[in-house]
């Protein structure tokens, strides 16, 4: 057998990964070199660069093919001027940027709050130092003290080495905002990382795992580049499995004008297990609501993605990808919108969408303040955006007894819940998902308080870092989460990690396999789909949405075969 490569889990021995030394090196951090040898040595902790074609397609600056292991990164001649102008422009545009550059006192409260620092020990993954990477340049060239005293007061000159360092560390931040919870001034490293990445994009430096989805999403409506007929095939395939499990043929409304609701979710749920099972859960839920209460919904091919890798790129990219949601809601004439289970997507929908694209709503005649016609609940909190989270919707249905549920079907599961970073710290949706889970599963145990809710730990793969070539950082960054999962597994026998994020469903699968191998990952609406007793379904389900037999039916004959 060939030796495992750095992009596979087997390459990393637990003992070696856990041999973490928090003692900083003796070398001053400003003097460390990020040359080709560094990047070669650190394979497994950086991400492949964007292919030229995607940058060209999006019309972004300096498209070129390059690699961090090259000596020459192909920067434009006036790269320094570009960066300085870029910093100046962003200082003028964002008060947050100015405040976060000026106010840090280096108290160190954030230092051990970052999952990458906890799991890796690299001092530049302390949020404070990650910000200093940019702050040192700001200090040197944009403040009086720095201009006069330079390095003496923490300034440093902008060199190619700085750019090479930025590329490494601004793609080692998942923009999870955990540090910002603990900072006495609310300094948000996500904001700093966003600025850093925007500056790098001005030089044509980005990573393919983000930019290919951005380009695909702009063209096809979703990150994965699924074409309209492909989406239909996928949903039909899911419908077959649902019929197999329940005996019910669910509708697949696509681009239906005049539906009550537009449903948009991350496209990851169309492609990869276990997200696909969550997608089936959505389809079953909406079918059931139509059968019982006449509520109609539609998928959209143009808006076949509500996730937004533009968030990890630039405000402009985010706006371009996000615009299709309101555009499509208006075109289809729905009343309001429901968004599926996704993390960063909800940061965009909650904190950015209305600001960026709110004017598209003008002329959307059918738009209404979201009101569940089934329960009569008015979602006043989404009065302006007209978009609510699926667990806000489902928890309301359950609270009013509008779904018939048989949680005993999930009795073989012992569930815990991972709060995804963005819904937790950029929204505060803690109780709704827990309420839904507790109503469809009898066995639920939360992880320790320092690892959930606003203090939740990232999966290690957020903000576009969830790709295999970044495996070492994913495993290291996943340590705090994996460890907490292991803890509730050992203590309470937890065997299922529920989450409401497509990136989580993909990356936590790896994290659990490595750090808590007895636990696997599920979306919330997969659990709902399994527990929900649908109108007219077969008398006795014998398997779950994964087509695994339910307890007691292990030997049952598959009647379809």
């Amino acid at each position: 057998m060939a030796d495992p490569k750095p992009d596979t889990m087997d390459y990393y021995k637990h003992d070696e990964v856990l041999d973490i030394d928090y003692t900083p090196p003796s070398e001053n951090w400003m003097d460390i070199k990020y040359d080709p040898a560094f990047y070669e040595r650190r394979a497994g902790s950086w991400i492949y660069t964007t292919k030229k074609q995607h940058i060209e397609y999006l019309g972004m600056p300096n498209p070129h093919d390059w690699s961090p292991t090259d000596e020459d990164w192909g920067l434009p001649d006036n790269w320094k001027e570009i960066i300085f102008n870029g910093i100046r422009e962003r200082l003028d545009k964002y008060r947050s940027f100015k405040i976060f550059m000026d106010c840090c006192v280096r108290c160190g409260a954030c230092a051990d709050k970052c999952h990458f620092y906890i799991g890796g020990g690299d001092p530049k993954n302390m949020p404070v130092l990650r910000a200093e990477l940019l702050r040192s340049i700001y200090r040197n060239d944009f403040t009086m003290a720095g201009k006069i005293l330079g390095r003496l007061v923490g300034g440093r000159k902008l060199t190619i080495n700085v750019i090479k360092e930025w590329f490494y560390y601004f793609y080692q931040c998942t923009e999870c905002r955990r540090c910002s919870v603990f900072c006495p001034y609310g300094i948000d490293t996500a904001e700093v990382t966003m600025m850093g990445r925007e500056l790098l994009h001005l030089l044509g430096l980005g990573v393919n795992w983000i930019m290919q989805p951005v380009a695909s999403c702009y063209r096809t409506g979703n990150h994965l580049g699924i074409l309209p007929h492909g989406l239909k095939d996928t949903l039909e395939f899911f419908a077959e499995d649902i019929e197999d499990v329940t005996g019910i043929e669910v509708d697949i409304p696509i681009n239906q004008k005049g539906a009550d609701i537009l449903f948009a979710t991350p496209s990851g749920d169309f492609l990869a297990e276990p997200g696909t099972f969550t997608c089936m859960g959505y389809m079953m839920l909406f079918h059931e609501l139509k059968e019982r209460y006449g509520l109609t919904y539609t998928w959209s091919t143009y808006c076949s993605e509500a996730g937004n890798f533009g968030l990890f790129t630039s405000k402009e990219a985010m706006k371009r990808l996000n615009a299709k949601i309101y555009t499509e809601a208006k075109r289809l004439g729905v009343k309001w919108i429901i968004g599926g289970e996704c993390g960063h997507m909800w940061r965009v929908l909650h904190q950015y969408m209305d600001t960026l694209n709110g004017e598209i709503k003008e002329g959307w005649k059918e738009a209404e303040e979201p009101k569940s016609p089934i329960t009569g609940t008015v979602f006043e909190n989404a009065k302006s955006t007209k978009m609510i989270h699926i667990t806000e919707f489902t928890s309301d249905l359950i609270k009013h007894g509008k779904l018939k549920l048989d949680p005993s079907r999930n009795d073989h599961l012992n569930v815990t819940f991972h709060d995804s970073c963005n819904p937790a710290r950029a929204m505060g949706i803690f109780e709704e998902p827990r309420y839904v889970i507790k109503n469809v599963c009898k066995n639920f145990h939360d992880m320790p308080p320092n690892t959930i809710r606003e203090q939740t730990f990232c999966c290690g793969g957020g903000a576009g870092l969830g790709t295999d070539e970044n495996m070492e950082m994913r495993l290291r960054g996943g340590l705090p989460r994996g460890n907490a999962v292991k803890y509730v597994h050992d203590k309470h026998g937890v065997n299922k990690l529920a989450c409401m994020c497509a990136i989580d469903r993909a990356t936590l699968t790896t994290v659990c396999e490595y750090w808590a191998p007895e636990v696997d990952v599920t979306g919330i609406h997969e659990l709902v789909g399994n527990a929900m007793v649908m109108k007219g379904e077969k008398e006795q389900r014998t398997k779950d949405l994964r087509l695994d037999p339910l307890p007691g039916f292990e030997d049952a004959e598959d009647d379809d075969v």
């Binding site: 239909k232 371009r320 505060g428």
Partner: protein, 331 residues
């Protein structure tokens, strides 16, 4: 290195004022001119910095939410950690500014070799030292208003009485004097003994600590050990505040040292990290309500971008859509 340079700078400042006053007799420079310069720098710099920040807009509403959002009527929202209205924001800011709410959350993360691999312990030391230092410094500052008022208002005298309630020593020791020294020294020790903190600390971090420690210690010396002519001092401070400065004889050089270090602090303040005093009020992750979906937040420079319209999308994929039986706008 940074530690040493900071200490040297502070000691040099002390030496300068000692030589200047004791040897060269430059009492007018250190007692009048520099204090006025410092106060101008402080006020001007402070206002300039606030305006510099305020000039940039807040394009997005980006609160860091640390509690349950307000949604369904039967779910209790946490309005202080995740404010949904102005009142919630006010309380959140009060808790942050007066009680250091976020620092209070601080934990210490450790890798535990056996058992669970990562452990979290609550860690109130930073919070305690910070709150002791800041509150003590504020009260000490307010107490000093007795040098700038005549007659001294009752409430300042009251504050002094409360602060000196242990009634130990003649004159009595103030609790805040002790807390101030303990707080600053503790923060300094913490910075020196944690290898991580040492790695990130700059001259800009050590210098204010040494400076304030110098102020506090010279203050204690002045009050309890190096007695100076307090009447002359008050004559001087009242002269400054009434813009008719005098530099009476008989003021001990220790007072000039104390006073000059304070002068330096004022002058240094607006150009340093100490401006977090103003910045904390303007931090967009703390001072905004999390009502994004309820009220549209306007960005004054909302970028103009190129969009891929539905019509273009349908043009690109119409054949495939029609073949798959997906409805289209233009057949």
């Amino acid at each position: 290195m940074n530690v040493l340079s900071s200490l040297v700078v502070v000691l040099a400042l002390i030496l300068v004022v000692y030589l200047g006053v004791d040897k060269a007799g430059l009492t007018a420079l250190f007692g009048t001119v520099l204090p006025y310069v410092a106060i101008v720098l402080f006020l001007g710099g402070f206002i300039y910095r606030i305006l510099y920040w305020a000039k940039s807009p807040v394009p997005f509403r980006i609160p860091t939410t640390c509690g349950q959002q307000k949604t369904l009527p039967w779910i209790k929202p946490n309005n202080f950690d995740n404010p949904h209205n102005g009142f919630g924001v006010f309380v959140r800011m009060v808790l942050e500014v007066l009680f250091f709410r976020s620092l209070f959350r601080n934990t210490r993360t450790q890798i535990v070799k056996d058992g669970p691999k990562v452990g979290y312990a609550s860690n109130y030391w930073l919070w305690f030292l910070a709150i002791a230092f800041h509150w003590a410094f504020l009260i000490v500052f307010v107490r000093h208003l007795r040098f700038f008022t005549e007659p001294i208002p009752e409430w300042i005298l009251g504050l002094q009485a409360v602060d000196g309630f242990i009634e130990y020593g003649v004159p009595v020791f103030y609790i805040t004097s002790v807390l101030l020294v303990v707080g600053v020294a503790g923060l300094l020790v913490r910075r020196l003994f944690s290898s991580q903190l040492r790695y990130i600390s700059l001259l800009n971090d050590y210098f204010p600590l040494f400076l304030i420690l110098g102020i506090a210690l010279t203050g204690v010396l002045l009050r309890h050990y190096v007695k100076t002519d307090i009447v002359s001092v008050k004559e001087m401070t009242m002269g400054l505040i009434s813009f008719s400065p005098v530099n009476p004889e008989g003021v001990h050089v220790m007072f000039y040292i104390h006073f000059f270090l304070v002068t330096c602090l004022f002058a240094y303040f607006p150009f340093s990290k100490l401006m977090h005093l103003g910045g904390v009020f303007l931090s967009p992750t703390r001072n905004l309500a999390n009502n994004n979906r309820e009220v549209r937040h306007i960005n004054p420079w909302n970028p103009k971008v190129k969009l891929h319209s539905y019509a273009e999308y349908e043009d690109d994929f119409r054949d495939k859509m029609v073949a798959a039986g997906i409805p289209v706008d233009k057949e």
